[in-house]
Point group: C2
């Protein structure tokens, strides 16, 4: 595993640069949101889905981001990024901006916009083909309806979850809520295939409402004519499922091959979902 520690390029509020104010509320409080988008040379295929979640999240957190300014900036950044590297990742961070010390914030603070370009990580793509082995994480997700679904910058639970193992034969961890119900992967969402239907954990009290999860719910399942539901997921449901897969907007779909002492083949529903998603990224 290699670490590419620095982005290929970074813009902060439209200007090239890689440093930000120590008084930015993103740093002080995790007071912001982010999107991690996969791009092709000619487009960012799920851009509208990313922006819908971002603007919705900013609305819930009352971060007054200017939509047209951000759209223009992403378009320009993508053009410059694609000229350097034909496909890759654009990470977008929006914070409430710079303010004085303390939780209170002037209502006229200008949000901070950060755009970063990264290459596609090779191993996450190979996991598409081979599937992944996963584990249960010990740390639980705290519940808060005010924050549920938002891809915000308060991610200590995920950081601690990812520190629970270093065995490289395990690729992802499953996170549960305080009651032990399955919520999501550390950086992915989960789908189960049970008796020809698809199920994904409901995210009404915790978890990140992933863009790829939403795309699969709204578009892929409809295209495949497979019934799908977001419900509470107990551990027992996983053992009883014929297929499991994880998804996110960068990696697409990872078939789950192993969890605890249970194994799964890469099943036909998972393959079909992968085909739909592969078309998005022109792969």
């Amino acid at each position: 595993m290699s670490f590419a520690a620095s982005p290929e390029c970074t813009w902060i509020n439209g200007d090239e640069g890689a440093s930000l104010s120590v008084m930015d509320r993103g740093f002080a409080f995790g007071d912001g949101v982010f999107e991690t988008m996969r791009y092709r040379r000619d487009a960012i295929p799920l851009l509208e889905w990313h922006l819908r979640r971002l603007f919705d999240s900013c609305g819930r957190l009352r971060i007054a981001i200017e939509e047209s300014l951000l759209r223009d900036e992403i378009t320009q950044f993508h053009r410059a990024a694609a000229a350097r590297l034909g496909d890759g990742i654009i990470k977008l961070i929006v914070t409430r901006g710079v303010s004085a010390r303390g939780y209170r914030c002037e209502t006229d603070a200008a949000p901070t916009r950060v755009l970063m370009q990264f290459p596609l990580p090779a191993e996450t793509l190979s996991w598409n083909a081979e599937g992944v082995a996963i584990r249960y994480c010990d740390i639980r997700l705290g519940s808060n309806v005010a924050l549920a679904g938002i891809k915000h910058l308060n991610r200590l639970e995920q950081v601690l979850a990812r520190m629970e193992w270093s065995d490289s034969s395990i690729q992802e961890g499953l996170m549960t809520d305080a009651r032990g119900r399955i919520v999501e992967g550390i950086s992915s969402n989960l789908f189960l295939v049970i008796a020809g239907r698809m199920v994904t954990p409901v995210l009404d009290t915790c978890g990140v409402a992933g863009v790829m999860r939403q795309y699969i719910l709204d578009e892929v399942c409809r295209g495949m004519s497979v019934p799908v539901a977001a419900t509470a997921c107990e551990r027992g449901m996983l053992a009883g499922s014929q297929e499991l897969f994880l998804c996110n907007a960068v990696a697409g779909v990872w078939p789950v091959r192993r969890l605890a002492n249970k194994s799964w083949p890469i099943g036909p529903v998972t393959r079909k979902v992968q085909e739909h998603v592969a078309r998005l990224f022109g792969a």
Copy 2:
């Protein structure tokens, strides 16, 4: 209310400067902790209490901060700060450091150390004398035993809580857990005086274990020979208490004068606690 947007002085990893890498995990994930310390010209009175919490928190989050390096840096920073301004605030932030994109972190990442100097906010001190009016916040604190007590950088709940009101006659908000039990103020801890005993909410599933709270528990109550306990606090207990006060390491002790439709005088126990704390800061 005036906002002093910038610190008087900032050191990052020992060097003067006010900007940090966009790849710092404090910014990406809130992956770090902080302390807000009040200093006099000759000392930082509660320094050992702050450091004990910080090192304990870093241990729980597995942030490998070098203790002697940090101690030396704080000593030097305090000396320089006191030369500029006889008393004030030193805010210390320690993050896991800079890493590649993604939750996983190299084990050898070097923590980032930020020291900032601010003047003492005038109004928080006047609240010592006059007391404060407070309100209940709507947003609840999520529970997570892995994070409970730590003054970490994941503070969106506090940010949203402080946005719930703009009425300047209300100075602080009380936060409750998912079950409605009182936990703390947004930036302070709570004590109740009931029938000559002191009570403070227990912080085993959420909340920040404040340094001033700990000092009052360990030193002030002993000095005053007042029995004290950390217990679960239902709302009804507040209505039945003879005195209420809030505390933090910067402001000291704020008597609570009003909450919802109940009023309190500034009582004798609160006054005694204030006298003990005032001696710390030489006020």
